[in-house]
Symmetry: C2
DNA sequence: TTGAAAGCGGTACCAC
DNA sequence: GTGGTACCGCTTTCAA
């Protein structure tokens, strides 16, 4: 006979409401409400009876109505440039885990790196009265800032260490992290740098830091390939960029990529050409994704705690929403150089 | 002077409501409501005045209140086992894209492959009155089925081709896809099979199909390594499984992995051992992720359209919600063998 | 410990 | 084309 499905299922006209439960249990609407939201105010006998009746009637409290009356949606809304990039997917996972079991639900939207979309997404979030908003990256567009600022909604900007966040921020210094990466490579004796990156703000920060350190060492600026596609992170783009770098610059002995996806793509390109890594050319990544731990050779990279950033963002929001005392508005999750074998 | 942040920002006591806008614009509440939801019913003059006033007052319609009155949340809720796995991340991205610009927002939750969590997540979705629910994988737990069935909410089960979905389904036959993979390998002349997979239902279906084809060819069952971790997809697990397979079975000439993450991990393990792929041992994956297109060698795999599945799910839901006629309840997105170089 | 009733911020039907 | 108004389903004083 198999599992039941919807065929032949007759549905009740209308879902039961609190009022129906109250009537069936012989108590008032207010009492039923208390049973679900402040059970300690109700006598045990009443509580049990209401629960029994509710269960029998398949009553499911309408959280929308509840939220509206209590003026809170219990929704945290998150905006990321792209969902499927391993980098942000991890942050989202951290967020989701942090929210698990708290009664808050996660709403998610992607901006595809387009400013106009950011604005409309944020408006949608506010229109739905999100209790908190989290954004991957700093909100730089003045209209968006203004919108958020004026809304009074708690906001966390992630992935950058902002001096003047709209409200709260969690991340690390992209500048310093890339600088540290360059210093590490310098320390390993590399002198002819290649650089593969994108054009978004975070990547630009990384580039600045990296170039600064290289310059400080008295070396010429790296040969660079910038990926102008909206999403500056794909294996494929990394491979192509590496190919150009290799074709146009014979002497390069190390290539720094602004994220691990690009780096692994670059690694594959070397492999395709039979160039030993790091023997002929070294490769360093940024972000410390799973893949870099198992690639051949395993990827030297900068660990920045993508998951932890999301997790921390949820913590900060929750703290604010529960009125926890003296919260920190800006959290530096730091970074560390992970030395493996590719550089 | 830098960007403005929240410091020194004084916030208005309460956000403006429709009533406030109405008063300021000298029209009735009902008119303002129409301006936002059925503008064609309002004269252009009134419409413009209201818009102007609303803008000046920074009025943002409360979608929660609107939804409550109209009995619709305009939220689609999705449940996946894990968010950060490339496989599901793509499906989520497809869903999100499909919803973009429709006025529907995406709510997301992960079950971590735990049945108890599934139930509570679904309850939360229903409690929030999602207009539609989409689930990665069939809902097999009777309580969950019952819950969904009785709720009357449109439901799409993804990633499997169900004969009796709760409501709607979009996916492909895991059984047939794996069977086709085996047939492909058989056709290429491989005879000594290895199998790396997990223990969840979809994986089990793939295993059955694969083994069936192998048996039908008169060959002994593959040597298998099953990953019992809750999440049967990581590069690392693939590498470890491959190591075991290689250590314990000298004669294996091809290994089929139930997803590309495992397959790429396996690929790396071969590389670590200096075993040529497919020369010494071939590797075939399943799912066709980005990484398999650029790995060395590029991965022969089964393409199943992870993104397209999500996209299609959103289409079906939207069609139902807008009352589109004669929709198909079960959509087979099919699969195809992608021959590259690893097998 | 329980109940009555005034919102929460809109939608939509019905008149005019 | 516009306004009046009865809900939508729950939370939360305030009284009893």
């Amino acid at each position: 006979m198999g599992l039941k499905n919807r065929a032949g299922e007759k549905r009740p006209e209308r879902a039961n409401r609190m009022e129906d439960v109250a009537a069936a249990a012989g108590v008032s609407l207010a009492t039923v409400s208390r049973v679900f939201s402040q059970p300690e105010l109700v006598s045990e006998a009443t509580r049990e009876k209401v629960h029994a009746v509710a269960k029998r009637m398949r009553y499911l409290p309408n959280l929308l109505a509840g939220g509206m009356a209590a003026n809170q949606s219990r929704v945290i809304s998150a905006m990321v440039p792209v969902i499927s990039s391993a980098i942000f997917a991890q942050t989202i996972e951290g967020l989701s885990s942090g929210l698990h079991g708290t009664g808050y639900e996660l709403m998610l939207s992607q901006s595809s790196y387009e400013p106009e979309q950011e604005y409309s997404i944020l408006r949608a979030f506010l229109g739905r009265r999100a209790d908190g908003i989290v954004v991957a990256g700093a909100v730089r567009d003045p209209h968006c800032r203004e919108l958020l600022l004026h809304s009074g909604t708690p906001v966390v900007e992630m992935w950058e260490l902002l001096e003047e966040p709209i409200d709260m921020a969690v991340g690390f210094s992209n500048h310093h992290a890339a600088q540290a990466a360059a210093d590490y490579l310098l320390g390993r004796g590399y002198r002819n740098f290649g650089f593969i990156g994108g054009t978004d703000q975070r990547t630009a920060d990384r580039q600045k830091g990296f170039y600064e350190a290289v310059r400080a060492a008295g070396l010429p600026a790296p040969r660079q390939v910038l990926i102008h596609s909206p999403s500056p992170s794909s294996f494929d783009a990394g491979g192509q960029a590496m190919a150009r770098l290799l074709d146009e610059n014979a002497g390069i002995d190390v290539v720094f990529c602004t994220n691990d996806l690009l780096a692994v793509g670059a690694l594959f390109e070397c492999q395709r050409r039979g160039l030993p890594v790091p023997g002929r050319v070294a490769v360093m990544g940024f972000s410390d994704l799973d893949i870099g731990q198992v690639s051949v050779p395993p990827l030297t990279t900068v660990q920045v705690g993508a998951y932890e950033i999301g997790r921390q963002a949820s913590r900060m929001l929750l703290a604010r929403l529960t009125g926890a005392p003296q919260e920190t508005r800006i959290v530096d999750t730091g970074f560390s150089i992970v030395r493996r074998q590719s550089a």
